[in-house]
């Protein structure tokens, strides 16, 4: 598992699942559909990504395609970091 996935998974486990059920967080599982993260949780996740990877998540980027699973987040973060040079 990549560093990004490991960091985000650990954050979700600590913050939303209080350490329990790590097996629930597979690479492709939808956080929203599985009830792991609610709408306030999305805002918390965005804050975490901004602080950890030092870029701003733009309004238009707050879509499930970027944020609703470990693999989507990894792809999104890698893209943002690459475009920042």
């Amino acid at each position: 598992m990549s560093d990004i996935k490991i960091q985000v998974k650990q954050y979700i486990l600590d913050n939303f699942l209080m350490g329990g059920e790590p097996e629930k967080i597979t690479d492709s599982v939808s956080f929203i559909e599985k009830g792991i993260i609610d709408s306030t949780g999305v805002l918390e996740l965005v804050s975490f990504i901004q602080e950890t990877y030092k870029f701003r998540v733009e309004d238009a980027e707050m879509v499930p395609d970027n944020l609703d699973s470990l693999e989507k987040i990894e792809k999104y973060v890698r893209g943002k970091l690459a475009s920042a040079g």
Binding site: S47, A60, L67
Partner: protein, 338 residues
């Protein structure tokens, strides 16, 4: 159900604003009969307390209460604070005079000041806009939802010279501002229950169906009540009821606002993704299993957008279920049915 045949007919009809048409005479009779049963026979109270905001929902609730119980058994409360519009208070007073009910105005600003409502709110605002001062105005507006994005919130502030600035809020700032402003609804409810206890009355909650279904209320604030007479009526239907009940024109034509922030704020800016007429239709269509394509045709939006609206409705239902829930017991106390 008031009229099963009519319900079946409407359920099969083409999706237009006509699906929300009601027979206001029948609805009035039904609600008034139930109000008497609930307040008098089930709750054993002598009347009702209604906090009157000047908006359409509380006005219709007060008018229905007067029809059901008589003006002598309805006590009105006007509960303004620093950020309420003076027009709201004027409308509230107009309604109380129109209905000929006893009412009291209590300015809750000193209570809110003492409890820290404005201080906590302004502290959070200053982390976003360090130049913000007490004489600036503010509001929160919603983004996302109908365009497929997750919901997020922006803080809008306005300096005394009229210059406006806006920034997206992070979750800590958003939660603190909302928690602080929720004091307003909770202090109002405390006062409503003081008078309800004093008079041995029930407290009327005033949500319409859209607000009730989508969780647009404060838990233990405006969400708290003993009876909610219009929670089954879409907002469009509440306006129809206001006209049927002969409420003053200024109330029948009032636009829905939150009246919670110092800048004017429509409900569709803060919570709902669309104006109430379209939200009503969307919720009705969703409740009647209409396809996203049919909703799209009716609203003049793309099928994709209509699907986003349905998803937003479901998301709000899911995330606000907690607001409706009773406290959860670790083990049932079966003697009380809990």
């Amino acid at each position: 159900m008031l009229d099963n045949e009519r319900e079946k007919r409407v359920a099969a009809a083409k999706l237009t604003s006509g699906v929300l048409d009601i027979d206001p005479v029948a609805v009035t009779d039904h609600v008034c009969r139930r109000l008497v049963e609930i307040v008098v026979k089930e709750q054993h109270r002598r009347g009702v307390v209604v906090a009157i905001s000047g908006g359409i929902d509380s006005s219709v609730c007060a008018a229905l209460s007067v029809r059901a119980l008589g003006p002598g058994r309805v006590f009105g409360l006007l509960l303004p604070e620093k950020d309420s519009s003076s027009a709201s208070e004027d409308l509230g007073r107009l309604l109380a005079e129109h209905l000929k009910i006893e009412y009291l105005k209590q300015d809750i600003a000193p209570t809110l000041e003492a409890i820290g409502c404005y201080r906590w709110r302004d502290e959070a605002i200053k982390t976003v806009f360090p130049d913000y001062q007490k004489d600036w105005k503010n509001k929160i507006v919603i983004g996302g939802g109908v365009d497929g994005r997750f919901n997020y919130f922006k803080l809008v502030v306005q300096a005394p010279d009229g210059a406006r600035h806006e920034k997206r809020l992070d979750h800590k700032q958003y939660l603190q501002i909302v928690a602080a402003t929720n004091y307003k609804q909770r202090i109002r409810k405390t006062i409503e229950y003081f008078h309800a206890d004093r008079l041995h009355y029930s407290v009327v909650g005033t949500p319409n169906r859209l607000e009730y279904d989508q969780g647009f209320f404060v838990k233990n604030g405006d969400g708290s009540a003993d009876v909610k007479p219009i929670a089954h009526l879409y907002k469009t239907q509440v306006y129809a009821m206001a006209r049927h009940l002969g409420l003053p024109d200024a109330i029948c034509k009032s636009k829905p606002t939150t009246d919670t922030y110092s800048l004017p704020q429509g409900q569709d800016e803060f919570y709902f993704a669309l104006p109430y007429e379209k939200m009503d239709l969307s919720l009705w269509a969703h409740n009647h299993a209409r396809s996203a394509e049919e909703l799209a045709n009716c609203l003049g939006v793309s099928s994709e957008q209509a699907a986003f609206i349905y998803r937003d409705i479901e998301t709000k239902r899911r995330t606000t279920a907690f607001l409706h829930a009773k406290p959860v017991l670790v083990e049932a106390v079966s003697e009380l049915g809990g």
